[in-house]
């Protein structure tokens, strides 16, 4: 009995020290992580709508939409996030929509996805993403699915995930806009 207590005691002491030090590391790093993520998001929004003087934030249907306005207060476009399921996990993309539901830009960086290096990761490249600019509706789907987007060779699943994600994102946005919550 005394032996068991001693074992339990040693284990408890070690666990308490471990948990305590880990909590300290977490305190320091979580601040940096949150700050980095916020900065990354702001940077992406500026890249999608470079002419925007400021962004107006609002919650619609559970999602946050950022509307970029120019110096006169006129809305240039709106930005929101999508997270379609890719080949190896969610792909966190940011879409910019302009007048008439046309895509301004699709932003995906290396950190937003976990696709196969050298294949699926090509969705982060301008060659793939720029295809979406200026397009709307069914054009946003892959050529194989009736649209106009070229899939990446040997990375159809990743490509389709992005294309369908963008398409469904725009459909959601148009409904949210139409229901008067512009």
């Amino acid at each position: 009995m005394g032996d068991t207590l001693k074992l339990g005691f040693v284990l408890t002491v070690i666990c308490v020290i471990a948990a305590g030090s880990l909590a300290k590391v977490y305190d320091v790093t979580s601040v940096i992580i949150k700050k980095n993520e916020k900065e990354m998001d702001e940077k992406k929004r500026k890249e999608i709508i470079p002419d925007a003087v400021g962004f107006e934030e609002r919650e619609v249907d559970g999602k946050t939409i950022y509307t970029g306005r120019d110096a006169e207060g006129k809305a240039i476009g709106s930005i929101f996030k999508i997270a379609p399921r890719g080949y190896a996990g969610p792909i966190n993309a940011m879409i910019g929509v302009g007048d008439g539901g046309k895509i301004l830009a699709v932003s995906i960086t290396k950190l937003d996805q976990t696709e196969t290096p050298g294949l699926g990761t090509k969705i982060t490249g301008p060659k793939f993403r720029d295809q979406f600019k200026g397009k709307e509706d069914n054009d946003l789907k892959l050529k194989k699915d009736g649209g106009t987007i070229d899939a990446i060779t040997a990375a159809t699943i990743s490509s389709r995930a992005v294309a369908n994600g963008v398409y469904e994102g725009i459909e959601w946005y148009k409904k949210a806009v139409a229901s008067g919550q512009r």
């Binding site: 001693k6 074992l7 040693v10 284990l11 070690i14 666990c15 471990a18 948990a19 030090s21 880990l22 590391v25 977490y26 320091v28 790093t29 979580s30 940096i32 992580i33 980095n36 990354m40 996990g89 290396k110 950190l111 937003d112 996805q113 976990t114 196969t116 290096p117 050298g118 294949l119 040997a154």
Partner: protein
């Protein structure tokens, strides 16, 4: 064993991946790019060194019957700390290594050295053993990652510095950045070690 031997044994003679054949899973999984392989080996270096030192420091106070749970608690604490640190200071590496950072906990190299060496030797020897094994791991990883990346992608990049770029004209053998390529490459590395380095 002399201190120098403590350090050098893990690099070539008893290289953890090529000779002892432990830690193969993360080695094969993250070596599709030289940079990811290098990043993983830095994380392993930190955890291996830290865990060997701590285990060696407390080895006389750890009751034999619960030593494994205690090793695991120590190792997983360091791995979790490394996870937070990489996430905070190198988000790109964090995204590339993904789930393989937490998997360092069950990387046989770390638990294996804690049990086989750090638990039975003094702090200095244990630290050197950890350092040597980690450098052996790093050497293997960089070579493995390098070969796979050059053949499979035409480039060799570490820490954003591109050492080799075969250019647009190079038609890469994609199989090398996929699992079969990993197995092929490591098989040849092990064969080469057997033939030329075993004394």
């Amino acid at each position: 064993m002399s201190l120098w031997k403590d350090f050098t044994t893990g690099i070539i003679k008893e290289n953890p991946v090529i000779v002892l054949m432990i830690g193969l899973c993360p080695a094969l999984a993250v070596s599709s790019s030289a940079n990811d392989a290098f990043g993983m080996s830095i994380a392993v270096l930190f955890v291996l060194l830290a865990s060997n030192i701590i285990v060696s420091l407390i080895r006389h106070h750890v009751p034999d019957s619960i030593r494994i749970p205690i090793f695991i608690v120590i190792i997983s604490t360091f791995v979790t700390a490394v996870d937070y640190i990489i996430h905070a200071f190198d988000m790109e590496l964090y995204a590339s290594l993904g789930v393989f950072i937490p998997l360092i906990v069950v990387n046989c190299i770390i638990l294996g050295r804690a049990e086989a060496y750090a638990y039975k030797n003094n702090v200095l020897s244990s630290a050197l053993d950890g350092l040597g094994m980690a450098f052996g791991f790093m050497l293997t990883m960089v070579i493995l990652g390098g070969i796979r990346e050059v053949i499979g992608n035409g480039t060799f990049t570490i820490l954003n510095y591109q050492f080799i770029n075969l250019g647009e004209g190079y038609n890469p053998a994609l199989v090398f950045i996929m699992p079969p390529g990993a197995f092929l490459t490591i098989a040849f590395m092990m064969a080469a070690h057997r033939k030329w380095l075993k004394k």
